[in-house]
């Protein structure tokens, strides 16, 4: 069982040879493949992360723009509503004023005509009374 002979050194040499061969055909190329792959994955991952960050930034920017736009249109609506109310109030006031002035003018005209009529009436009353008086006195 324990007979040592030239098998020992030959086996050692053979093993070193195997290690050298495997170093060339196995360890080096496959290590390179594995490391290339992990580099590739790492760079891809970094790239993807960068792109994700960019996309998130864009989304944030769009969201803020959207919020800005919403604020603007709400402000526009409020302003328009205020304008409309103002115009409506103004128009109402104008119309009321016009109606008032028309009424006053009419009233004044009415008063004038009433006065004229009264005057005419008074003259007529006077002339009639003179006539009545003349007729009555004529008999006398």
């Amino acid at each position: 069982m324990f007979d040592f002979d030239a098998t020992l050194p030959l086996m050692a040499v053979q093993f070193l040879l195997l290690a050298a061969i495997l170093n060339v055909v196995f360890y080096k190329p496959l290590t390179k493949v594995i490391e290339d792959r992990s580099d590739y994955i790492r760079s891809n991952e970094a790239d993807a992360r960068e792109r994700l960050a960019k996309a998130e930034n864009l989304a944030k920017q769009y969201e803020s723009e959207l919020a800005e736009t919403r604020r603007q249109y709400q402000a526009t609506i409020v302003a328009a509503q205020a304008d409309a109310q103002k115009i409506a109030a103004q128009k109402t006031a104008e119309a009321q004023q016009e109606a008032q002035s028309q009424r006053e003018a009419t009233q004044k005209e009415l008063d004038q005509q009433k006065q004229a009529a009264m005057q005419t009436l008074e003259q007529q009353v006077e002339s009639l009374s003179h006539e009545i008086l003349d007729k009555l006195l004529a008999g006398v």
Binding site: M11, L18, F26
Partner: protein
């Protein structure tokens, strides 16, 4: 050894041969042929799988590339856990090859029916059940951690022997011998014992009874590969880091 288990009239489904080797003569050196045959198979398997995985490497892995990438990430993780983020890279090939070679050896011994291939002597089995293989690997680990220590600290590496107190010098020196010893014998013993237990059980009660033990053997084989590679990495880390360093790993 253990040939007594091969009873001449026993059921011929299984027999045990330990200590029988297929000897090859190279010059005036003797080597264990069956160990090399299976180790070449293991090496071929690893190299072919690697070539298939990297031949057409894609960014999105498929099939065998996925499997080998999983293996690579596993051993990278293992060495990083032991050696730390800063120093682990140059050691991944060594520790990873230790793990993969031992793991594939152990499992090939457990899963592939080598018995079907008859050898003139000895039998094919996991290369790690031969003490030569495990000692070779353990000595390589020793060399590796000495190399790591000297490279990092130069001769200052020896300071770690007397670092907390010179009283521990003999123990520190002893450690350098016990480390490869324990590494090699742990692996050798576990794998050999596993194959022996399976063989004995198959000899005694063939067919279904040994199956749970075989599953346990697969589990132990994987754990042993992990333990060997982890300990190798830990020893290297110890040599690099040392006691008296100002920088302390968190």
């Amino acid at each position: 050894m253990l040939n007594f288990l091969v009873a001449p009239n026993s059921f011929p489904l299984a027999s045990l041969e330990v200590g029988h080797h297929l000897y090859w003569q190279i010059g005036n050196l003797k080597v264990h042929g069956q160990v090399f045959l299976v180790s070449w198979f293991v090496i071929g398997l690893l190299v072919i799988a690697s070539l298939l995985a990297t031949r057409n490497a894609q960014r999105v892995p498929r099939g065998i590339q996925n499997l080998m990438e999983y293996a690579l990430e596993y051993v990278r993780e293992l060495s990083r856990n032991q050696l730390g983020e800063k120093d682990y890279r140059p050691w991944v090939p060594f520790i990873g090859t230790l793990f993969l070679f031992i793991f594939v050896s152990n499992w090939s011994g457990a899963l592939i029916p080598w018995k079907l291939i008859k050898l003139p002597e000895g039998e094919l089995a996991a290369p790690t059940n031969d003490i030569n293989t495990t000692v070779a690997l353990a000595l390589l680990v020793s060399l590796a951690y000495f190399y790591a220590g000297f490279r990092k600290k130069g001769l200052g590496y020896f300071a770690k022997y007397i670092q907390p107190t010179p009283i521990l010098l003999p123990i520190a020196i002893l450690e350098d011998f016990t480390k490869p010893l324990s590494l090699s014998f742990r692996l050798f013993g576990n794998i050999l014992a596993d194959e022996l237990v399976v063989a004995v059980l198959v000899l005694l009660v063939p067919l279904f009874v040994p199956l749970p033990v075989m599953l346990l053997g697969l589990f132990t084989s994987a754990i042993q590969a992990l333990v060997f590679a982890t300990l190798a990495a830990a020893y290297i880390h110890e040599a690099i880091e040392g006691h008296g360093e100002e920088e302390h790993a968190p």
